[in-house]
Amino acid sequence: MHRRGVGAGAIAKKKLAEAKYKERGTVLAEDQIVQMSKQLETFKSNLEEFASKHKQEIRKDPQFRVQFQEMCATIGVDPLASGKGFWSEMLGVGDFYYELGVQIIEVCLALKHRNGGLITLDELHQRVLKGRGKYVQDVSQDDLVRAIKKLKVMGNGFGMIPVGGSYLVQSVPAELNMDHTVVLQLAEKKGYVTVSEIRDGLKWEKERACHVLDHLLKEGLAWLDSQATGEAHYWLPALFSELTSRDVTPEEANQMTP
């Protein structure tokens, strides 16, 4: 009877078995790759067919766009990744977001002198819709977020800061670190913030709070109000709700610096 175990013969056998498994493994891997390629090809052509059928819907329906984007994301495709090629040509998806990006830049530039380059997503949405007129496609906040992400990648100084359940869109390359962002979030509720509120709410030292507030003043994002009861209030025009949806007047337009 054979004894399974140690011995030169057993080791050699083991090695041969391993080699065979490896070879088999390689063959298996190649098989798999060929299979997967075929699957991807099918997937891609199905997607193309889907896209061409639904091109109109993509352009017209914001809800549809969201679902389409999410679907692309699950297969690791970014329809906005390149300006040319299948996605923009077949679907016009790239064009749609490119044009939207241009509109967003225009709105932000027009209001920069008022809010220092910071605007709520809500206000941006309102104004973009206004600028589009009645007969153009509807645009959702999801669309804006995607367009802004694209702008960010292109290095336009764009960024998004999460505040109070939505976002503040930053359109100038002002240096805003975590400290600044956190104070902006604190200011979101009332449109202003005070040193005491920062100390109480964030448990910071007075110096740290003042440093941040000074920076916001310097960047033109905040204005000082020294007539408030108690202590100075630091107001952010971007969060000043009575300001939103007020059109830019001719006088203001004259004051704007490029």
Partner: protein, 174 residues
Amino acid sequence: MSFEWPWQYHFPPFFTLQPNVDTRQKQLAAWCSLVLSYCRHHKLYTLDVMEAQESPVFNNKKMERKLSVEAIQVVFEELRKKGNLEWLDKNKTRCLVMWRQPEEWGKLMYQWVSKNGMVNSVFTLYELSNGDDTHGEEFHGLEEWMLLRSLQALQTDGKAEIITMDDGKGVKFF
């Protein structure tokens, strides 16, 4: 028609002179616009600094914010630099506000004169600013100091000549 306040008027920090230089520039530009449009709307030609403090322009009672005397002086100095304001006294307590330049006023008056075929007629200053004929015209009610300057501007242009008459001044348009 009631006066429309700009958004800044309802923004509390607007009444605090801003420490940041760039922001202050924007703020002062907005204040200058506001003062001039307020004066234009109410046809104010002179302002008294002490009275101005209590005027709704510089004192937003509802919001409990007002521009300090120092800040008002800064705004007035801006207006003076732009050519829209002239001090009447050395102590800077009263000033003339020119929300329209004399040349523009002169043009308006000349237009009215030629439109009505009254070139070569002579008018007294009173007739121009307060006569029944000019009722409804923008220059109706124009204060004499501004009226004179406007006519002087026309005179320089050769479009009018100021005449001294028995009981005051008059003007002939060419």
